[in-house]
Amino acid sequence: LLKGACVTARRMDMEEKCSRANSVSGIQEMDENGVVLSLGADSQWLIVSAKPFRLDIMEGREVLLSLNSRGLLAFEHLRIRTVTSAELVLNVVCPGWLFSPTGPSSISLDFSLPGVEHVYGIPEHADSLKLKTTDGGDPYRLFNLDVFQYELFNPMALYGAIPVMLSHSAQRTMGIFWLNAAETWVDISSNTAGKTVFGQMLDYVQGSSETPQTDVRWISESGIIDVFIMLGPTPTDVFSQYSSLTGTQAFPPLSALAYHQCRWNYNDQEDVAAVDQGFDEHDIPYDFIWLDIEHTDGKRYFTWDPHKFPQPKDMLQGLVDKRRKMVTIVDPHIKVDSSYKIHNEIRSKGFYVKNKDGGDYEGWCWPGNSGYPDFTNPEMRAWWASMFAYDQYEGSMENMYTWNDMNEPSVFNGPEVTMHKDALHGNWENRDLHNLYGLYVQMATAEGLIERSGGVERPFVLTRAFFAGSQRYGAVWTGDNTAEWEHLKISIPMCLSLGLVGVSFCGADVGGFFKSPSTELLVRWYQTGAYQPFFRAHAHLDTPRREPWLFGPENTALIREAVRQRYALLPYWYQLFYHAHHSGQPVMRPLWVEYPQDTATFSMDDQFLLGEDLLVHPVTEEGGRGVTAYLPGKGEVWFDVHTFQKHNGAQNLYIPVTISSIPVFQRGGSIIPRKARVRRSSSCMEHDPYTLFVALSPKRFAQGELYIDDGHTFNFDKQKQFIHRRLSFANKALSSRNLAPGSQFITPSWIEKIVILGASKPSKATLKTPDGKENLLEFEFDASMSVLTLRKPGVNAGVDWTVVLQ
């Protein structure tokens, strides 16, 4: 198995990563029925038993995980298929759906997790964060599909598939990565599921019985059993172990973390200009305006409707003038039309997916009859990437980025609205790699955006379909949701689940795609979306317009405020993404990731953490008058970011709310940088000064970071052009020192203000700079809230400095 894993890794071009993984270091014991192998560190062992075959991973005397302990290992070997009459009938009903030419080839294996009651991950499902047991119901299905108006709390397959499951208990976090891109099903059962609280109590009181255990079974339609076990033991360890296999989150351009205004569709250039103007008139910031499929000439991607968008460069220049940007959609279905250059080239180069008889596979999508380029072919991807060159994609400019939709792929007249399983990608059937198609589309597109800038600029590409590793290419969103309160709520567990398995850049359509939200729902959705990684409003073609200013001045003001909170916090968001890129830690986290021993947090999915320092409990109830937020951490404190009120940790806190409330708390012991001067786009704020929010722990300590780079190029990586500073408050002194001595970057930004929460009143505050100068700082002290505000340190954000309070 482990050898298999390495072979696979090599196939995925991750050779060097694999060599870092634990390796079996030696036979410890052996008899006729098995061997005990050392796994190296931490007295971990692998026991291989022959009859019956099973694998047990041990730490000391404890079993961490067993494979095939239930004997559900199954596989079918490839053979020449003889067709039964029943199959013939089925193949008429579902052509190309059921049977491969080499006969049935499914595989299966079970995993037992002793001591585990909570498992997470395996997105994408519209379900709770904690996965449910599937006894008596359908297993969780992983099969990328374009689902019309998906249902909630349902294990049905959606647009993307990441076959990675995390297990967590107060003792340990682990992960299982089932590397298989064929249709996959996951069954979960638990010996404690269904027990009442009383039953569990009884077990406890009677000192009873069995250890809790979760059993999982994976089934895939084809392929080989190729599994990576991540042993943790901490959540952080699992994240870095998983990212060593599939890579980390792409570091997006800073502006991509700002607000995006989308709609199917902005009708024409005038409409785009009017919406752009609307944002300025109502003083609401935004960075990106999006064009859906109607902007093209007859759904021919890489083209423009000649009547509606006759001068795309003028339009884009208009946005450049406002320091704003645009995203246009490029879907992978290509109109079969001999007067369409893209189609002709793909056809003549033989780049289309083939049907089983060798002809080009065709299906119906937005443009009508369409071909589907074979993105699994590296040559095809290289060609596709070249189509994003400025001289190829006519009317494109540097401030235009890309959105890949429908890349499951969606085939309107295909089985389950997707590609026939017997369609051929080279020698591989779609059956074998279905869930990978969308990843390759986004990969090729992101590569195109990088290439067009000569490798200088970071790309930004949004995708709907995804697979393990998609995080390397950009952002994902949760697809075509609905303007309903339950859909607002589910956006939290859906993005949390994605974050746990590598995809941090996640968001849901603000307002809901289908149907029309009530004003209250729209406002609440903006407030929630402002604190989720990918923040984009989007709406279906048939819904009434919903630009933020269409609901009266009060609601415009509420939405403006939510968007402004997002912009002010962009330095922190950017820093979190830098870390996600650097070390694979999720940006949006379930509470248990930071409080792994606090069992109260294990099932929470109505609140979440951003990094480790901000706790968000958005209001997602209609007519909500209050929320009960759980503030974790015994002995810790949390500060309301709006009122600066201090609350103790390890409590359920009832917070009365109004329509303007977005309950957010900063952890005592943290320092968060913000930019208080919110402007009309994030680019306009580039050189603005920082305000530091220092939230003291009960021990009067705090620590944070400040990360700055140019916001859009790879220079941070290639030339180490960035500033990364450690901010720490201890012994009544706040200081900034360099965390990355090898780096260099010059910023005009300076420190405008320092707000210290939970402070006491000093007699004086002195700023010391490296040139040896000392300046007294003016300050204000709010005794009722214990907030100390230092006026205008004025020191450059990139240099060493210390403020001493006396």
Binding site: N267, R323, R564, R677, V678, R679, K753
Partner: protein
Amino acid sequence: MSCALLLLLTSLALVMGTGTAVEIQRPRGVPQSKRQFYEENKPFTCLDGSSTIPFDQVNDDYCDCRDGSDEPGTAACPNGSFHCTNAGFRPAFIPSSRINDGICDCCDTTDEYNSGATCQNTCREMGRKERESLQIMAEITKEGFLLKQQLIHEAKRGQEDKQGKLTELQGSKKGLEGKMEALRTVKKTAEDPEKEAKERHLKSWEEQKELIRMEKDKTRMAEAFLELDDDADGYVSVAELQSHLELDPDSDGSLTETETQGLLGGAGKVDTSTFETVWSGIKDKYLSEGLSDPPAPVETPKEEESRDFVSDHDSDHYPEDYAGEEEDVEDDEEDDDHEEEEKVPPTVQTPEKREDDELSMPPYDTETQILIDAAQKARDDFDEAERALREVDGQMKNLEKEIGFDFGPSAEFAYLYSQCYELSTSEYIYRLCPFNRVSQKPKFGGSETNLGLWGQWAGPEENLYSVMKYDHGQGCWQGPNRSTTVKLTCGKETVVTSTSEPSRCEYLMEFTTPAVCQEPASLDEVLHGHTEL
């Protein structure tokens, strides 16, 4: 470090239209009207009074006042605003966040003094353009307003005309009502004798028909007897009758001896006189031996005539034949069951009945016909009077509707009533019929779509008559019913200038008309109304 930004404008020359240069001193971003609050070297009190700060903290790029008033010239305060003088054009306030953001907002470039953005001073050019367009607008307004006076005048006259017409119609309606009542009596008087005469005629025809039928029956019986009496012995025997399988009472395909005897009333044979009783029992089934096959049931219009004649004597309209019935498309969807029934051919008729049906009623006698004619005339006269009254009613209703419309404070929009205005785009022809409906028709074939029916005036409170709303148009898939907002602007001509669909199924139309032209202010007022000196 970029924090020493206090900058007093020492000599900002404001070039006015006259070319006079005025020198003023005030901190950056402060409008002339607030200049007195910013006195150099004196402590500054925030305009909301919330605190007082040293003057060197005004415009020092740090926000001290809650209302943002200490930083009129920097972006430090989130709620501040910056004043651009824009000499040569209109002065303006912009949010502080647009100061030094790299985007030129003020035409005099004063908002970008430290961002590296290169802005061109476009105030004079903009001023010139605005002046030009205001001039054009003023001319249009002037002419439009004159036209509007004319429209008001015409509307007033039209309104009076309509009121007069209405009064007139009310008079004639009364007359028509009287006439109709009189004719109703006449009609009744003529219809009663008509009805009696018709019934008489019908009754005698029924009696006559019965006689003929009996006669025919007798003849058939005699013929049948002769036919059956194969051996011509003057009796019909069991054996002779047994060959007529159609008479089989239990329809099992064989006519047994017992069954036949039963048909003959228990006797072995019957003579002519006894046969009368037997005949009445078998005549409906009996088939003449001369016919080898039973006759196909053929429906004839005549048969229908006779069937309906009695009940429908009042009318000269007969149901169409079956072919006609099937062609009747309107019926098709209304009532399938009914139609099915009609399509089933009628049951087999006996030859006797068929012969009977060939008989038709003799024409009315002269006396009856005279009565009928008289009644018909009375009916026609009455119908005519009724029609005339309905017409007058309709006219009155239309007039009342038109008079009832809100055509604006001085009925200046009345001239749009029952007019339509079209605009052709690349794909569609849009049609606005004010106070009626808006529609859209594809240029290259396809049916018209209703984009909304007249709803109401929908402008803002102070300018209600600037927007028309048309709603309840054709429904949209998964969406609302189509609706159209029509924005009215002053123009010399009445014309649709643009249409768009900003949101799915919500249309926006721009429409110029003199009827919304306001009394023109003098041009000087327009141009200098907001200029700060």
